[in-house]
């Protein structure tokens, strides 16, 4: 199938992706070399492919790449500071042991960032609601909840 160019702002930089009309945003990003978006199911169930699309959580396997034309995409690498330092959410995940295999982590981190944007001081219930679209088979989520609370505290300090 013929490919067409689409323009997106990927982690702050304008880029052009060459895609077929049937290509999902997930596959287009991965082909472009952004492999932090993982394909755990490609049917919208697991959340490993999560990105922020125009600031909103989006499973990138559930949109076509052409739908991202002109929009902003943020992936986990895009959260890193200028010198590669981890975002407070990423840091809290490391410190709390909220990562095991790490396959869910980039998506989970983005879901946590999105949650903390909306609820800077979240309750356990809000955390559970905010991360309920992202599966993790390893951690049992307990350490992830700890990490999100810790990240909230770290972000508050930064503000």
């Amino acid at each position: 199938m013929p490919k067409q160019p689409i323009n997106v702002v990927l982690n702050g930089k304008p880029v052009t992706l060459e895609v077929e009309p049937r290509t999902t945003l997930l596959r287009a990003l991965r082909e472009f070399g952004v492999t932090s978006v993982k394909r755990g199911c490609e049917e919208g169930e697991c959340g490993t492919c999560t990105v922020l699309l125009d600031g909103k959580l989006q499973k990138s396997c559930m949109v076509l790449a052409v739908e991202a034309e002109g929009r902003k995409v943020v992936t986990s690498e895009g959260l890193l500071g200028p010198d590669g330092e981890l975002h407070p959410v990423q840091k809290a995940f490391v410190e709390e042991g909220a990562i095991q295999c790490g396959f869910c982590t980039p998506g989970m981190v983005l879901a946590a960032v999105d949650l903390l944007n909306r609820h800077p001081d979240p309750t356990d219930e809000q955390i559970k609601e905010g991360l309920s679209g992202n599966l993790c088979r390893c951690t049992g989520y307990v350490s992830i909840i700890r990490a999100v609370h810790k990240a909230a505290a770290m972000l508050k300090e930064r503000r």
């Binding site: 199938m1 077929e20 049937r22 991965r30 070399g33 492999t35 932090s36 978006v37 993982k38 394909r39 755990g40 199911c41 490609e42 049917e43 169930e45 697991c46 490993t48 992936t75 986990s76 690498e77 959260l79 890193l80 590669g84 981890l86 990423q90 840091k91 995940f93 490391v94 410190e95 042991g97 990562i99 095991q100 295999c101 790490g102 396959f103 869910c104 982590t105 980039p106 981190v109 955390i127 559970k128 609601e129 991360l131 309920s132 992202n134 599966l135 993790c136 088979r137 390893c138 951690t139 049992g140 989520y141 307990v142 350490s143 992830i144 909840i145």
Partner: protein, 805 residues
């Protein structure tokens, strides 16, 4: 005297290796590797029927799809593979034996073209009657899944029964059970069943294979737990020498046993070794649906236990019959059957034992290794029936357990004396933390509350001579690389190894790195399974690090002309206090020291260590007896507090407490992680997981919509994890495994709690809402036992049940 000082050695809370790149998203898993335009993609066309002869396969339409390079059929790649029993071909040859079995491999320039091509492969079959019911098929041999069973190679400790559907039959024969039953005051006989369940790791299987067309050398990049086992299985299947195969395992996104042994690599090789393809790398990434349909599952089972108990509550005899549904292949699944068999009296001392543990072939996806390896299955039955028995004899279930506990020195069912452990103390703590013996009001109005206890036990299940080796390299700036071919799939072993090396070398953990496995660089390790790595590979890593330390110390002793005992390595600085010397490890560790004699001595420091368990003896195939059947057991207990909504059958977990005797927690952060993660995985299995098929053997639960695993909303309100440390004698630091154990007992603990809440015993896993709702209804009419059969052949089962009891 100890000659090293470090702040983050064994037992310290340190953060984990590779977590920074995992958090950033920059760590590359197999699917993330890039091979350029040379790369071809493969996709399997799969059987749509459960049992049949292949009449014809038409690939002409598939070949017309632009980009399709080749379609390979089973008769073009006839090789039999298997870890313990060679019963598996990567592509169906002549016959299909389950829905989803690969019948053709489409190789194409793009993944999309391969996917399109696979849809266009057309097969004609002559259908045969499929079989699904392990209880029936264990005795009814009119239809055989593997009529050729006799010709399959197998290891001596697996005992297939040619002419039947039994891929393995493990036995324990000790004492006289019938006499014990006669002498018993009470005889309790009950059964439990459970469907197959899926691992649910989030990274689907993926591999890339390439053959060098000039030499035939194979390179395989794969999401595998055990590079060396993968290599050995492939070498044996292909008739290749080991050193012509290189297996590289990038980080993997969860395994839980599902990426042990060999998975999809041979199927990918069918593409990469094809004469028209070889030379180009071929990638096979399977979809979530294919993962559910055609990779390992935990075996389903139907199990019965008969117990004879004297008037004081002592168990005198036990007769166990376990039917494991191993599906179409038992190449790996034959061994959990054995593992359940040789632990078949659980955590209890039973003088007279008779066990038959069968692996039964059926026309379903194949059973294999899954976290717990036969023990969640065994304890799923045992801890239920122990609870039933306690109630039947009118004894408190906690007291009944303690009365029969396998105290140190008492013999397990294989005749091996039990080692020291803290199980009674763990039980006491769990009972106390959850208030097991206290009735409490439900937190939610109108709900029913109950508490339950279940014990856990498991030994590493592996060949007697499963060995490990490691290399510790000290680099020219005092940093360290560890080559230990264990896969850190999330369990955190690399952090543990780094802590061990830090302990032995006096070098901070942040300067130590473990390298992901590659058979070309790493020394041999049997497999990353069985919760054995911190123990067995830990022995090798400790020895290798100590070897490196001794080399460093002896070089410095010579260099400074001081006695070696006076030297200490402290946070990466080598010191001799008496001589007033202190120098950081630097390039001399690599390039050698110019010694007082004027000559260079030393050169790169490479520490090596190897380990093989010295004294394990296979249980006798007739009686199951052995003076040392396994290396050791890790024991533990789970207490759980649940509430049931009588209106919906919904179960909420208020609190769970899980404790294990880990011997020594090398890396506490990871021990906690393993207990928390496994507890939730076990609760998930107990409440919602099961693979179901229609009457034609088509999987009804091929995705995470229909196969539900716990989300963050499904976890208990409170999870308490703890451990005790009764040191293991032969062990790097007294440690024992704990990775799998946390998965073993949450499910039966929930069953016991539900009985406590409702007065109804549910004999069928999982405790899904509809089933619990049914139990609630039964509790109103005074019925006490709820049985469902997981298979569609309900009629057969009812008949079988009648014959059983």
């Amino acid at each position: 005297m100890k000659q090293t000082i470090t702040n983050d050695g064994v037992g310290k809370w340190v953060t984990r290796q590779y977590d920074v790149e995992k958090a950033a998203g920059t760590l590359q898993y197999t699917d993330d590797l890039r091979f350029g335009p040379e790369l071809l993609h493969a996709k399997a066309a799969r059987s749509t029927i459960a049992h049949g002869e292949i009449v014809s396969i038409d690939v002409s339409e598939a070949m017309k799809v632009p980009g399709v390079v080749k379609v390979i059929l089973g008769d073009q790649f006839v090789h039999r593979f298997g870890l313990y029993l060679h019963d598996r071909t990567p592509l169906a040859v002549g016959k299909v034996r389950y829905v989803g079995e690969p019948i053709a491999l489409v190789v194409a320039e793009t993944e999309e073209a391969a996917e399109e091509g696979a849809l266009k492969v057309k097969a004609k079959y002559k259908e045969l009657t499929p079989i699904f019911d392990p209880v029936k098929e264990a005795t009814d041999n009119s239809i055989l899944v593997h009529p050729e069973l006799e010709s399959y190679e197998h290891v001596p400790f697996i005992v297939p029964q040619p002419g039947t559907n039994l891929a393995n039959w493990f036995r324990i024969r000790r004492g006289d059970v019938e006499k014990a039953f006669e002498e018993s005051e009470y005889v309790v006989e009950e059964a439990v069943n459970c469907p197959q369940i899926a691992h649910g790791f989030l990274e689907p299987h993926c591999c890339i294979c390439k053959e060098d067309p000039a030499t035939g050398y194979l390179t395989i990049w794969t999401a595998a737990q055990s590079v060396f086992a993968t290599r050995e299985i492939i070498a044996a299947g292909l008739g290749y020498p080991l050193n012509k195969i290189r297996v590289i395992a990038p980080p993997i996104g969860g395994g839980f046993g599902g990426k042990a042994g060999m998975t999809i690599e041979a199927l990918c090789l069918a593409g990469a070794m094809d004469p028209d393809v070889k030379g180009r790398p071929v990638k096979l990434h399977i979809s979530r649906e294919e993962v559910m349909l055609t990779s390992w599952v935990r075996q389903g089972y139907v199990a019965r236990i008969k117990m004879g108990i004297d008037k004081d509550g002592k168990i005198l005899g036990m007769k166990n019959t376990f039917y494991f549904d191993t599906g179409v292949s038992a190449e790996y699944g034959a061994n959990p059957v054995r593992s359940a068999g040789y632990t078949s009296t659980g955590c209890y001392y039973v003088p007279n034992v008779w066990t038959d543990s069968y692996a039964v072939y059926t026309n379903k996806p194949f059973g294999g290794a899954y976290r717990g390896f036969g023990l969640p299955e065994l304890m799923g039955v045992m801890e239920t029936i122990i609870d039933i028995a306690a109630h039947k004899i009118g004894m408190d279930p906690v007291e009944f357990r303690l009365k029969n506990i396998l105290e140190p020195g008492l013999k397990t069912c294989t005749g091996m004396p039990m080692h020291n452990h803290a199980l009674p103390k763990i039980i006491e703590k769990v009972v106390d933390k959850v208030g097991i013996q206290k009735k409490e009001e439900p937190r939610r109005p109108g709900w029913k509350r109950g508490k339950g206890l279940a014990l856990a036990i498991k030994a590493p299940a592996k060949p007697a001579d499963a060995s490990s080796s490691a290399i510790v390299k000290v680099l020219g700036d005092g940093t360290v690389e560890i080559l230990a071919a264990t896969m850190d799939m999330g369990q955190g072993t690399y952090t543990s190894f780094a802590q061990m090396a830090s302990e032995e070398l006096g070098i901070p953990v942040k300067k130590i790195r473990c390298i992901y496995p590659d058979t070309n660089s790493h020394p041999y390790d049997w497999q990353t399974v069985a919760s054995r790595s911190c123990w067995a590979m830990g022995m090798a890593v400790k020895r290798a690090a100590a070897d490196a330390r001794e080399q460093i110390i002896s070089l410095y002793a010579q260099y400074w002309q001081v006695p070696p005992e006076s030297i200490v390595i402290e946070h990466g600085i080598v010191k001799c206090r008496s001589a007033g010397k202190a120098e950081p490890l630097d390039e001399r560790i690599q390039n050698g020291f110019k010694m007082p004699d004027g000559y260079y001595h030393g050169g790169p420091i490479i520490g090596t260590g190897s380990f093989v368990p010295p004294d394990v003896i296979y249980p006798d195939n007739e009686t199951g007896q052995s003076p040392k059947s396994v290396v050791h057991f890790t024991v533990g207990a789970v207490g759980i507090d649940v509430e049931v909504d009588p209106a919906t059958g919904c179960v909420e977990v208020n609190r769970v407490s899980s404790g294990y005797d880990v011997g020594k927690a090398i890396s506490p952060m990871n021990v906690r992680g393993q207990i928390e993660g496994g507890t939730v995985q076990g609760i998930s299995a107990g409440l919602m997981e099961g693979m179901y098929y229609d009457e034609k053997g088509r999987l009804l639960t091929p995705d995470f919509t229909d196969y539900k695993i716990a989300t963050i909303k499904d976890i208990p309100e409170e999870i308490d994890s703890f451990w005790e440390e009764t040191p293991e004698e032969l062990s790097p630091y007294g440690n024992r495994g704990v990775g799998e154990h946390s998965m073993i007992s949450p499910a039966p603990a929930i069953g016991n709690a539900l009985f406590n809440a409702l007065g109804v015993r549910i004999h069928t896993y999982p405790f899904s809402r509809e089933r619990v709702y049914k139990a609630v209804q039964m509790s109103k009419t005074g019925e006490e036992d709820l049985w469902d059969y997981p298979y569609v052949q309900e009629q057969n089962y009812k008949k079988a049940k009648k014959e059983w009891f």
